[in-house]
Amino acid sequence: MLHMNPMQPHQPMNQPCTLEINVISAEDLRIHGRPIKKNAITYVLRDSCKVVSTKVNKADGAYTFWDEKFDVVFPANARNLGIEVFSGNVLLGNASIPASEFLADYTPPHLLHLLSYRLRDRQGKRNGIVNLSDKSSFTILVDDHNNDNIRKRCSAYGQLGLMKEAHEGMSFSSRRNEHEIRRNEKMEKKDEYV
């Protein structure tokens, strides 16, 4: 069993982990006070770098559902996750989630966290809420093979499988998604010229 000081929340693990992030939905998205009609898209950032994005939701308006899952590798030195919600190329709002909220929270990191965040626009005004879920799985470093402590901790999380790409900073699924982001960014630029 995981040993923990009962007076302390779960300590952040000083090692890379893979976050299984589900971008579920956003609520009450507005442009100039009016509910948006369509085309909301959410980007997930790691320390201000876009890593994955949802699809553009053409059907939903102010209350948009994506329910899209991503594996995002979170290196030991990473500090936070960012969320940016756009409609077309307009930033509706963003939120910053410190690593402590999903790695050192009351809920043990390997269990499902349901996280909701207030979105704020460029002026810092409140603009809706984003709903996510997250589960973290920890990976073992190859040269830590003989370290019993780490192995035990990993088995407690049911994650004995090695994931090499953890060290490279990005998993396959998020890498694939990066192309989409570049494509989207190009499209955004095109829009600006028009």
Partner: protein
């Protein structure tokens, strides 16, 4: 969705027909633990206010059945002919009969067949009393309901709380029969026999079906545009009358429409084999909708249509003859068909999930000197409980049945323990190492000894107490225990650390924890109302995180003091909903499933 319950009060009313609320986004239930989020997802959006997951079965109907063993033999030539009468004890202590079993002839170990229905309420202690009689032969052809009980021979009685039965994983509870109320059970148990109570929850209430319908080549009924079709689904009652149970939205100008998914609970449908009538109408503003076509199919048949991926032709009943139906080119398709089981609160209890009670008491100076009668902490020598004691007894009195070891963490806040600095979370029992006390009497003893051992101070801070409780809940999660925690905070004043409290609550909203706050005294409790999310917006922390669900329930003591409804009832009413919201949004299933 007329039968959709959008809040707790509505949920209670809509027990019979509570369908999950209709949502635009739809997908089939698929694999993966993160799919638990599906429910979280459904509960969000399409509603600008913070809405809870649709919990349609807050009240549960239970069927009680009884058996007995080693009853006393009161007949000379044969054995007793026993019958049992079940009573519910009211708040005033009066017994109200809720049903009788049949008479079993010539048996000292009867198993009665007749079941007695009772509605389970979480928020009150429902005391059941059972009386067993030997029915004399001369009365055997009289309806049991007409029997005069005073003419029968009394074989013994037993009593228990309904919550004691439902928390048993087998839902079986064996009680000792005693001669009369008030007589020591231990000395008489062997001679009067035993009574076993079994409670059964209706199974069909748990299943719900979600269906997406599509039609093709509908007939055009409008002159200048295409038809505006919608579907009405009805069930045929035993009397032959058709009862509409569900309706889709109207799709404008479309002869090949796909409607949003509809939800049918098994309670509405009856069974999977019951024929349902599906009628397609063209919407007219004047309310006289034209029938485009209809079809009769049971859920089993609809599932088959879905699996075969083939349409079924609609027909139009002819205006004149009974037998002749005009079969139409129009077809009905079932695009999606999924069944889901929603566990009830009682399923989790029977699966071994416990509710763990924790209590935190306000020891700030604003309560007044405990030695003076005007203090909120004044211990009346006559034994009349003060507001704190009353709240503990009422809330603890209900919750204690759901906690098997009855060891309750108890804290105080806002006081100086002997010679120490002000503590915002100290163990009520005076110990430095453990916070638990034994049962409700243990809380009372610890509370009274703390009153004489600490000096009242201030300010009123909740943050420490909530995070201590959250850590206990967190530890249980890490240990993979299926437990849900209920923290009762009793306070006389407005909190000073509103931001810290909000942060702690927002973080704790992701834990199996609910917080009940009772406000005593005459202070202004506006801020407490603010913490209780159902009275305003979703709670937001300083970091921008928003509570994923409502976990706080606040009740000022004066509102309910002396009224019909007890504090406990008001506070606890929302708890099963908060519990189910937590379990369902994470896809947590009861441990021992008894489906």
């Amino acid at each position: 969705m007329g039968n959709c319950c959008s809040d707790v009060a509505g949920g209670r009313a809509a027990v019979g027909g509570g369908a999950p609320h209709n949502h635009h986004h739809h997908r089939r239930h698929s694999e993966g633990p993160n799919d638990a989020v599906d429910l979280f997802l459904k509960s969000r959006g399409y509603s600008s206010v913070f809405s809870q997951i649709q919990v349609s079965l807050i009240l549960s109907r239970l069927a009680l059945s009884l058996s007995a063993s080693s009853l006393r033999d009161r007949d000379v030539l044969s054995k007793s002919d026993p019958m049992a009468v079940i009573y519910m004890k009211g708040r005033d202590g009066k017994l109200e009969e809720i049903g009788r079993t049949e008479v079993v002839l010539n048996s000292l170990n009867p198993t009665w067949i007749k079941k007695v229905n009772v509605t389970y309420h979480f928020e009150v202690v429902q005391t059941l009393v059972f009386h067993v009689y030997d029915v004399d032969t001369q009365f055997h052809n009289i309806d049991v309901k007409m029997l005069k009980l005073e003419d029968q021979q009394f074989l013994g009685e037993a009593s228990c709380a309904l919550s004691e039965v439902v928390t048993k994983s087998s839902r079986l509870l064996t009680l000792d029969l005693v001669p009369h109320e008030g007589i020591n059970k231990a000395t008489h148990s062997s001679s009067y026999g035993k009574l076993t109570v079994h409670a059964e929850e209706s199974i069909c209430s748990r299943t719900a079906v979600e269906i997406t319908f599509r039609c093709s080549e509908l007939e055009n009924k409008d002159l200048f545009s295409k038809s505006d079709p919608f579907l009405v689904i009805s069930r045929t009652a035993e009397s032959g009358i058709s009862i509409p149970i569900c309706k889709t939205e109207v799709i404008k100008d479309d002869l090949n429409p796909t409607w949003k998914p509809v939800f049918l609970s098994m309670q509405q449908v009856g069974s999977k084999d019951n024929p349902l009538t599906i009628e397609c109408f063209n919407f007219n503003n004047n309310g006289k909708h034209d029938l485009i076509g209809k079809i009769e199919k049971s859920l089993v048949e609809l599932e088959k249509i879905h699996l075969d991926r083939k349409g079924e032709n609609l027909y139009l009943p002819s205006a004149t003859g009974h037998d002749y139906h005009k079969v139409l080119k129009s077809q009905l398709y079932v695009e999606e068909f999924s069944e889901s089981v929603q566990y009830t609160f009682l399923d989790y209890l029977a699966g071994g999930c416990e509710l763990n009670f924790m209590v935190a008491i306000d020891f700030t100076a604003s309560n007044g000197n405990p030695r003076l009668p005007d203090s909120l902490h004044y211990i009346d020598p006559s034994g009349r409980p003060n507001a704190y004691q009353k709240a503990i007894m009422e809330v603890g009195g209900v919750l204690q049945f759901y906690d098997s070891d009855k060891r309750f963490p108890a804290w105080g806040f806002g006081a100086r323990p002997i010679d120490g600095p002000v503590s915002h979370c100290f163990n009520l029992n005076g110990s430095n190492s453990y916070c638990e006390v034994e049962g409700i009497p243990g809380i009372m003893t610890a509370y009274m000894s703390a009153l004489s051992n600490v000096s009242l101070a201030g300010p009123t801070l909740f943050g420490r107490v909530i995070s201590t409780a959250a850590n206990i809940a967190s530890q249980a999660l890490a240990d993979e225990q299926q437990k849900y925690f209920v923290l009762l905070i009793i306070t006389d004043g407005v909190i000073t650390d509103l931001e810290e409290t909000k942060d702690a609550i927002v973080k704790a909203s992701d834990l199996p924890l609910s917080i009940l706050i009772v406000g005593v005294g005459g202070a202004d409790f506006k801020e407490m109302e603010f913490l209780d999310a159902d009275k305003g917006e979703r709670l937001e922390s300083t970091s921008g995180r928003v509570a994923s669900r409502d976990i706080v329930q606040f009740v000022p003591f004066r509102d309910v003091h002396g009224g019909e409804v007890s504090v406990a009832q008001t506070l606890l009413a929302e708890l099963p909903t908060q519990f189910l919201t937590y379990m369902r949004s994470r896809g947590i299933e009861p441990k021992n499933r008894i489906l």
